[in-house]
Amino acid sequence: MKHELPKLPYELDALAPVISKQTLEIHYGKHHQAYVNNLNNLIVGTKFENANLETIIQESDGGIFNNAAQIWNHTFYFNTFSPKPQVEPSGKLAEMIIKDFGSLSEFKEKFNKAAATLFGSGWAWLAMDSNGHLDIKQESNAGNPLKNNLKPLITCDVWEHAYYIDYQNRRPDYIQTFWNVLDWKVVEGRL
């Protein structure tokens, strides 16, 4: 199975100034594409040659895991954004956030802290366990909560390549503005 780079659900300049056109050109057009190319090369002749991404993430390690998980993570990340986002959670998700974190602002504060303090490259996640309990996770490098049988709902890429052109060393500023383009409607659809 040949993996393909999925289309972005908006134009490259649609998220500016939160995420600039230049960042998206490189992040999506170069990094995301490179993970797709690398995986396609690495799986030739392995048991993962015809597997889907989720299976590869669950069962592989090393370079195959890194590239497969990075494809999945970036697709999931890019798909969360919209130039015209629903700015707050509603319905069941809103209730779940209040139940597990107290309030939306307390949730954001905890998520922002996880994203800001992750040391090195990685991802901050909001994920749900099989009992419907929400939790925030820090995963380094290509880490993904699917590996621990959790259902990812939100992710924030804190590899420096995700924000360095726009924010340089100011990772907390990137995380703060990240919420301005995050579409809660998409997140609700993932429940």
Partner: protein, 228 residues
């Protein structure tokens, strides 16, 4: 009466602690950059150097000083700290590494750098990697294939032989958590912040250009110190 005594005791204790702290020598200095921000343009641009030295490096240093105070590390050498790094809170490993690694990185580059290693160092490189060209190839491979943030290292192992290491985040070969212990003599930063403004996703180009500014004189000095 009893309360008064306790207050007085606390006050005395507080004064004593204050005095003890103020007398502790600060052993961890923030080194000056040994060249101007734009001196390494063949390799890296002025803006990157400003952010890298003045923001990232300074933040590591400041955070390490806090961690050093909190863990009574003042007066200890970095080597001593790294030998036991797994026994300290993670901040010592992350920020101590960030401080030490960057300080070494600035020193192993020079606007008058480039060229080839000479003498004993060249001999040692050939002994360990069969040729200088092969060493360059292996070092570049370590630097370009490191997944995520980290450093490529040239280090001297406990038997005096050179080896290349690829370590994540701010780890270095002096740390007890390193898979192979050694004394580092050359460091290359491959965190994206080290090259992203100029090279973006093209880390391999950054690694290739590193050789234009490498300070072999300093690397040879570092090597010589390990021979004693």
């Amino acid at each position: 009466m009893k309360t008064k005594t306790i207050i007085l005791l606390n006050l005395l204790l507080g004064l004593f602690t204050l005095k003890a702290n103020s007398q502790t020598p600060t052993t961890f200095t923030f080194p000056a950059l040994p060249y101007s921000y734009d001196a390494l343009e063949q390799f890296i641009d002025k803006t990157t150097m400003e952010f890298h030295y003045d923001k990232h490096f300074r933040t590591y240093y400041n955070n390490f000083i806090k961690a050093a105070d909190a863990n009574n590390l003042n007066g200890k050498s970095m080597e001593e700290i790294f030998t036991n790094v797994s026994k300290y809170p993670i901040q010592v490993r992350n920020f101590g590494g960030g401080y030490f690694n960057h300080a070494m990185f600035w020193e192993v580059m020079s606007p008058n750098g480039g060229g080839m290693p000479e003498g004993k160092l060249l001999q040692a490189i050939i002994e360990s990697f069969s040729s200088y060209e092969n060493f360059v190839k292996e070092f570049e491979k370590a630097a370009t294939t490191l997944f995520g943030s980290g450093w490529a290292w040239l280090a001297v192992d406990d038997s005096g032989k050179l080896f290349i290491a690829q370590l994540p985040n701010q780890d270095n070969p002096l740390m007890d958590i390193a898979p192979k212990h050694g004394v580092p003599i050359l460091a290359l930063d491959v965190w994206e912040h080290a090259y992203y403004l100029r090279y973006q996703n093209k880390r391999a180009d950054y690694v290739t250009n590193f050789w234009k500014v490498i300070n072999w004189v300093k690397v040879a000095e570092n090597y010589k110190k390990t021979l004693k």
